[in-house]
Amino acid sequence: MPPTKEFLENLKKTPERLRESALRVGKLPETDRERSQSTFHNLFLHVQSVRTHRNSLRFAYTFGLGLILTASFVVLTITGILVMVYYKPSTDLAYQSVKDIHFVVPAGRFIRNIHRWAAHVMVVAVFLHMARVFYTGSYKKPREFNWLVGLALLVLTLALSFTGYLLPWDQLAFWAVTIGANIASSPREVTEALGITRWFDIGAFQKQLLLGANHVGQEALIRFYVLHVAVLPLLTAILMGVHFWRVRKDGGLSRDVTAEPPPALIRGREVQVFPPTKTYGLMAVVRGRTPVVGRAPEGSVPSWPHLLWAELAVFAFTIALTLALGYWFDAPLKEMANPAIPENPAKAPWYFLGLQELVSYSAFMGGVAIPMIVLIGLGLIPYLDRDPRGVGKWFGGPEGRRIFWVSLVVGLISVVALLAFTVQFGWLRNWFPSIAQLAIIALNPGTVIVAIYVAWSLWTLHRTGSIRMSAIALFTCFLAGFIVLTAMGSVFRGPNWQFYWWPSQWPVH
């Protein structure tokens, strides 16, 4: 073949060969075998196993929450990079640059709105995802460590949202972060009460570490910016990688391994099943022969296309949701930050308003002790509850379902009753004005509600003899407390943290 002709021939075939080399197979897969290969030959797809258990595809089992989280993180990254192009992290310029994003950057307002609402979607989804994983017992062996990774991701999500809150440099941002920083300095309440602040001022140290100064200013803004655009997203992306990888290595999504293998049906339709061609056990990376640990593959379907379409649908849903929110609702932007005009009430971001409500009783308990107790308690769950039964079933079965409902009612009633009591009659300081602060730190509505919840959980343990049931009782109670306290802080607290039935009743200030 003459070289010129060969050259032209190669040129002609280049698009086809490019496609072949990129996709390896060179065409859309047609058989299950090719589908498997497509999956593990692709950097982005091989995070899934080539086959997926049909239980994992049940919508009512996961509600797609993990994927909603992933999708909103992707949306946030893309829109975040776009707004980052125009944003200027300086107290003089930040507000004006956000205004310019709003007014003159083409579709800048839309992009910023999407970023804001996707952040809220992510925070909501992270709580729901945790609840889903807990109630289906998915934290149990061998998934204990992934539960901890998930907890770290929860904290990172809140931190990402909180650091982003300051960046617009408006009144909302300034005072929310001022409140947040004051929560960070709340150990001072204890050191003051003990009279050791002079030697050991951990509260001030934490606040200064957060803000880089004693007040919210340029130092805080640049710190929050660096955390928000570099440190935290990187950490989150890494931990998400670990989280996914462990899901895979721990045998896919949790399910009831004792159950009979269901017929190979999805939504009433038969699907082809295909025995694995690879023995994963040989690679000594998982226990057992196949990624579907301990089970034959009859309950599974090829990830391509079943899982991929499901995932794509959830991605598309999340994007549509954030676009719709961003189209109809403008992200809040109040007046430029002005340290001379405090917002009243100054409120933290909504997901911290439960804590702020507790902080209003005792800064140390609400700001440090109770959140730490909750985080440590959550982290300990998989190591205290070693009962392997009930994995992969909502609430672990009918008994757990009953405990859930009863605990939900107990949790709601006790926290609402306690709040109503506090609003109506006040607390120790109102009755004994000269009482020692240490007494209030030890005994306040926050500690009382925790005590009630722990007592209820212990009673459940005593009654059922099951650590799992008492864990469900405790988790449900805290969930109820979280919801009610957050609602209290967001809706029912007005200027001077007074109780109001609705924000429209607040006096204009």
């Binding site: 004006q96 205004k99 310019d100 007014f103 003159v104 083409p106 579709a107 800048g108 307002r109 839309f110 408006d170 009144q171 999805i266 939504r267 339709r269 038969e270 699907v271 082809q272 379907v301 296309p305 079943h306 379409w309 499901a310 794509l312 649908a313 598309a316 849903f317 994007i319 549509a320 676009l323 719709a324 961003g326 189209y327 932007l333 109040k334 007046e335 430029m336 002005n338 005009i341 006096p507 204009v508 200030h509």
Partner: protein, 478 residues
């Protein structure tokens, strides 16, 4: 095995549906954010007007009038004003007959204040960065300084001009407001430039306050600072419960003028390139005060509480009498040093604040001018000759029955002026005291005992009793 229908169908449909929704929002947003913006329509309309107005030479240029965001950036004022995006013809005199937003700026003000140098928001306030009218007006948006209504825009003239030096009629409301502030005696309670009373807040920077710095719990209607001022002038207590401010009798026009003046009070530093020479002179005039004018000072700082000073008045909010300080009867009983000291230090236990250099900000010269004015302007008083002093014992009996209720058993007076007071005893003559008992003190609560059955004997007795408080070496006869 039967070939099953595709089990992923539902997910495929969901993906398709959600993708279609996303696409719809993206397209809608792209149109809304970029193509459907109001300012584009305004500029297209403006281009048509421009073409119709242009002569043959300018028509080609008018036809290529670019449709784009326009802005005036004034770094010295911190302003980036995009108002000219819609008001493209604001400095084009040919547009005088057009409707807004294409209309030329009225009064040809922009010939003196070029848009490129001043921008728009330095005079009009509002959100200059905005590209739609609602957000530019910013009254119901989170913005500290919404667009001033045209009727109040004069307020901002004061930022760079001395209103007294402006040509007549250029800022009439502002100049009137400034005069009203002095005439109505607002300085009696409010400090301005360090001078004034202390019962109300200082007003130096009140024009730069945002609505959040006002008590708006009872503010009806528009939540703007100017609406607050106008309503507050009409009914101070209705807006600020417990306010001591009297409701001044003001016409609506006066209210508006004073509101303009309130909005004009801004201490913000404006780059000196932008200040009119008279404004700079106004700043330094304080170092060279004109000779003090007692009458003007009285009007400015005293009249709000003492009114004309010719009569005592019961103040409902203070819950006490405000003395008649230009009453000859009072002036006769006080010496100059005592008057000056009362002005300088105030009257502890009453609402009368101190007016000395460190309190009310009046200089020694001004205090002296006030004292001189009080003494000079108090109308004279005709006194019949003093009677011979009578019996202290009888006088004491009468005093305890008739006088002690107001002047106190010890003569130190819980309500009425203290008689056991060396200054009073030195300044007041017997003739004056006797006449006061006989005829009362004009326009004060002191009654005329002569008309209530006191004969000359009783008056002489009471006079003797009152005189027993005279200090040694004090006035003894006359």
């Amino acid at each position: 095995m039967k070939l099953s229908p595709d089990p992923s169908r539902i997910f495929k449909w969901a993906t398709l549906a959600f993708s279609a929704i996303s696409l719809a929002f993206l397209v809608a947003a792209a149109i809304r954010e970029n193509i459907a913006a109001d300012w584009r329509d305004h500029q297209l309309a403006y281009r048509t007007i421009l073409e119709s107005k242009a002569n043959d030479a300018g028509r080609a240029a008018a036809r290529t009038f670019p449709i784009e965001i326009r802005q005036v950036s004034v770094p010295a004022l911190g302003a980036v004003d995009r108002c000219v995006t819609c008001h493209a013809g604001i400095d084009d005199p040919r547009m005088a007959d057009q409707a807004n937003p294409h209309k030329t700026h009225p009064k040809r003000l922009l010939e003196i204040h070029r848009v490129e140098k001043f921008g728009c928001t330095i005079c009009h306030q509002g959100q200059g960065a905005a590209l739609n009218f609602d957000e530019a007006k910013a009254e119901n948006f989170y913005w500290d300084y919404p667009l001033l209504p045209a009727s109040l825009t004069e307020a901002t003239c004061n930022s760079c001009h001395d209103p007294r030096a402006l040509p007549d009629g250029s800022a009439p409301k502002l100049a009137w407001g400034l005069r009203l502030f002095a005439e109505k005696g607002c300085g009696g309670c409010h400090k301005l430039g360090g001078k004034g009373g202390s019962l109300g807040p200082a007003l130096d920077n009140v024009g730069l306050k945002t609505k959040h710095e006002f008590v708006r719990a009872h503010l009806k209607g528009s939540q703007t600072t100017w609406n607050w001022h106008e309503r507050h002038f009409r009914d101070p207590g209705g807006l600020v419960p417990g306010s001591l401010m009297p409701a001044p009798a003001l016409t609506p026009a006066e209210t508006e003028a004073l509101t303009v003046y309130m909005l004009s009070l801004r201490r913000g530093e404006i780059h000196s390139d932008y200040l009119a020479p008279d404004k700079i002179e106004e700043k330094y005039a304080r170092l060279h005060p004109p000779p003090a004018d007692g009458e003007a000072l009285y009007q400015r700082f005293c009249s709000a509480c003492h009114d004309t000073g010719m009569h005592a008045r019961w103040d409902r909010k203070f819950a006490r009498f405000v003395p008649a300080i230009r009453n000859r009867a009072y002036i006769e009983t006080e010496d100059d040093e005592c008057l000056a000291e009362n002005i300088r230090e105030g009257r502890p236990g009453t609402r009368m604040p101190g007016w000395g250099q460190k309190a009310g900000g009046l200089s020694e010269g001004e205090v002296d001018a006030l004292v001189a004015y009080l003494r000079r302007s108090a109308p004279p008083m005709e006194l019949p000759p003093a009677p011979q002093r009578g019996s202290i014992a009888r006088g004491g009996e009468l005093f305890n029955r008739q006088c002690a209720g107001c002047h106190g058993v010890d003569g130190k007076g819980p309500i009425a002026p203290a008689l056991a007071n060396p200054v009073f005893q030195r300044a007041a003559t017997d003739a004056f005291i006797a006449q006061t008992i006989r005829a009362g003190r004009d326009r004060t609560p002191m009654p005329a005992f002569g008309r209530a059955g006191f004969g000359d004997g009783e008056i002489a007795d009471v006079l003797a009793y009152v005189r027993q408080w005279a200090p040694a070496g004090g006035r003894s006869t006359q």
